[in-house]
Symmetry: C2
């Protein structure tokens, strides 16, 4: 890593930035300069700019160039980039960038990463043949480590953990431990926060945080110093669970154990930050009806991936339309209904989406479970009733005056109350039930919800109109 360069690099970049106040990151002007140099084939200039960048900066540059400029940059300069530049790229972007490099070069990059980063790199690729080509170029040792890593379930603690850790026998003293750390400096992980105390069969008996170790006197036994409330993580625990455990117990690192409870790795909080980011972003995309981030995907594959969701939506829209067509006779007589019916359906959709956002969030952070879920549904139904009353008076009054037709106002008001109660109830019920039956509440909830609010909205409004206006 070229960490020492970064402060100068930042100063250099900041010169360009009189108008926007970036404290870190690349200015648009800087990116433009590199792009122009690339297009002018000015190698010396590109090289000069690259030299000043940290890994995250170079990764940002790669992400913000268009496909052609990116290809030009990678073709001529990727061999000069730090291997960790590629670690900084998102999975999505790696799938675009890495296939442009020769497998041999990627193998060389992977060989220089720490075990967890190497595993993450190979995992992020989705083309099996390409993966295989890369693995062929790895040393036997790296290959073995990677294959072992890949044997753990996807998204599990085993895939997340780092294999490099510091473990010492329980009978050692502080002095002996420190001497060992000094002597073994080469073999230890670059960064670590805790020393694990193990028994002869590699079971963890406690941990000693470094700040505790350093404050103790040399003669003290680690066994007396260690913290015993160790939260060990089974190798197959889902990464989302792991993140939840870290948050809940305010951990900075935790040991991972195999099926026989033996220490096999360590997860540190910086890995957890990545997991949290990933999961939060996934939820946000799913709520919007996108299964996977596609910012860097080509137009055709993006539109194909998104059309699946739109296709399902088309069917629910047709369902709603057929509810409307049941009432063609009514609409023919009172054509104003056609203009007003989307108001009822739309308000239901929006109110329901509010409920959905609150409930999906609460499920994601584990604030909702069987114990308080019925209460939440009940509350949302009441909120729906209350807002239904408020908006029924508002819209009912407006429509009554506008069309000089109090009955029409009454009908839209009643339909509004019905639909907002349904929106609240189902906005809460749908994600709770999906979650209960092991489904991801973020992805499918909104489609079910819109179906409910559209169908109810149209049916209640046009049905009441048929009864009271004809």
């Amino acid at each position: 890593m070229t960490a020492e360069n970064e402060s100068t690099a930042e100063d250099g970049k900041r010169e360009d930035e009189d108008d926007n106040e970036l404290v870190f990151g690349l200015s648009d002007r800087f990116i433009d300069a590199v792009r122009n140099a690339l297009r002018e084939n000015n190698h010396a200039k590109v090289l000069e700019e690259l030299q000043d960048l940290g890994e995250a900066d170079t990764a940002e540059l790669i992400s913000k160039l268009n496909d052609d400029d990116r290809a030009a940059l990678l073709k001529d300069f990727s061999e000069k980039m730090d291997p960790y530049v590629f670690s900084e790229l998102s999975w999505e972007l790696r799938r675009v960038v890495l296939p442009e490099l020769p497998p041999k070069q990627i193998a060389a990059i992977i060989s220089e990463l720490e075990s967890d980063d190497a595993l993450d790199m190979i995992q992020s690729l989705d083309d099996e043949d390409f993966k295989h080509d890369i693995i062929r170029h790895l040393s036997a040792k790296t290959r073995l480590t990677l294959e072992e890593g890949m044997s753990f379930p996807e998204d599990s603690a085993g895939r997340l953990m780092q294999r490099e850790f510091v473990a010492i026998p329980q009978f050692w003293t502080v002095g002996k431990t420190i001497d060992y750390l000094r002597a073994a400096a080469e073999e230890l992980p670059e960064d670590f926060f805790d020393v694990f105390v193990i028994d002869p069969s590699y079971h963890i008996t406690g941990t000693v945080p470094l700040n505790r170790l350093i404050r103790a006197s040399r003669g003290e036994k680690v066994d007396a110093l260690k913290l015993e409330d160790v939260h060990t993580i089974p190798f197959n625990m889902d990464q989302e669970e792991v993140a939840q455990l870290f948050r809940r117990e305010n951990l900075t690192s935790a040991p991972v154990v195999d099926a026989e409870d033996r220490l096999i790795g360590v997860i540190t909080i910086d890995d957890i930050v990545d997991v949290i980011d990933e999961e939060a972003q996934e939820d946000m995309l799913k709520l919007g009806g996108v299964e996977q981030d596609d910012l860097y995907q080509a137009v055709v594959s993006t539109s194909m991936a998104r059309s699946r969701w739109l296709f399902i939506n088309l069917f629910t829209a047709i369902m709603a339309a057929s509810v409307v067509s049941l009432f063609s006779g009514t609409i023919e007589k009172v054509v104003a209904l056609a203009a007003l019916m989307p108001i009822v359906a739309g308000m239901g959709g929006n109110a329901g989406t509010q409920t959905l956002a609150v409930i999906v969030r609460a499920i994601a952070v584990r604030e909702l479970s069987g114990a308080n879920a019925p209460r939440a549904v009940y509350k949302e139904a009441l909120v729906g009733l209350l807002n239904g009353i408020v908006f029924s008076i508002l819209i009912g009054g407006m429509i009554a005056l506008w069309y000089q037709n109090p009955m029409l106002g009454g009908v839209i008001g009643m339909a509004m109350i019905v639909n907002l109660i349904m929106a609240g109830t189902f906005g809460a019920l749908i994600p709770i039930l999906l979650n209960k039956y092991g489904q991801d509440p973020a992805i499918a909830s909104s489609i079910f919800l819109t179906t409910v609010t559209d169908v109810t909205g149209f049916f209640a409004f046009l049905g009441l109109a048929t009864i009271f206006l004809l």
Copy 2:
């Protein structure tokens, strides 16, 4: 903290859980047991259950009881709870829970927290009088520290940082540093990962991670050992920026400096996890049209807060309705249009929401800036065009067959293409422009977008119908 109890506590809880596989957290059955004991006024039983719980467990219990049971629990048992239980509660929940305790008791809780947690506790309250009552009961020293903390801008690094840190002069040796850490053990923060090296005027000249310190020999100078690429954080940097910097540079801790560049505190990665969670949840709620989490709020205040958003939505719905009423004459003649028009508007809304989710995410994680934004808008318009063509053939064909009217199929198909192009273009453009002009793209984007897709959908469909079908 009662950390040593936790492993036994977890075993105890797990006995209850034969059916669901909780690895941590409370089972619904456990919560029911406590609730029943509370209702039966069985103090001994409640106390026994509480004794086994860690802070996060007790906080979970508080969060999952209903208002009455929660009040009963707090009334009789809050004084026996660890102060950090209250730190574990979300801000939202603290605003419900803390006002039920006497100010004097909250002052006692705050006095036992570390400086950053104490500041967080007082910040989370929104009732100024209540806050004032609490502060009155604090010792002069705690009060001063808190008031100083409150003087930093809201959501800034100054509010986030911990005041306790380890700083040493640059001329010290490793041995002297270790001796100091041993001697000063009482005054040091409970956990720390780095030692800061400062000059006489409290400017940072470097940091020494503990694992580097422990591996060095006693005679070495810290000045030679220190890492110089320190990412210092100005006290007024926004917490979202701070989180971004931590992610980008993979930091575990970073020093905070005042306007004169003097070291005043330290931010560690566990604080960052909270910030990331908070920001991600906020974005998710805002995209759903909820300004603040209201899971624990009462029905009336929830419905009032949410009605603001629905009120804005009502106006845009009325706007869309008036577009429809422009075409009453057309609908009167071809009543099928009334049933079909929500399909066009709805598909536009859904496609636009997909784009919105992708773009808002990319802005939040800084993958989008001026350099690649125009490209993103262009791509989304193309994706809209492509999906528009696909769905225009699909829906156009279906409608042509269904109604035996090829012209009607052609009209809905054309309207679909127009609306999906608009959805893609504005789904990208709206958040990018909001962000450019300093507005939060998560909150207002969806309302603008629905207005565009509704108005365009109705106008294109009914307008084309008026031209081609009458």
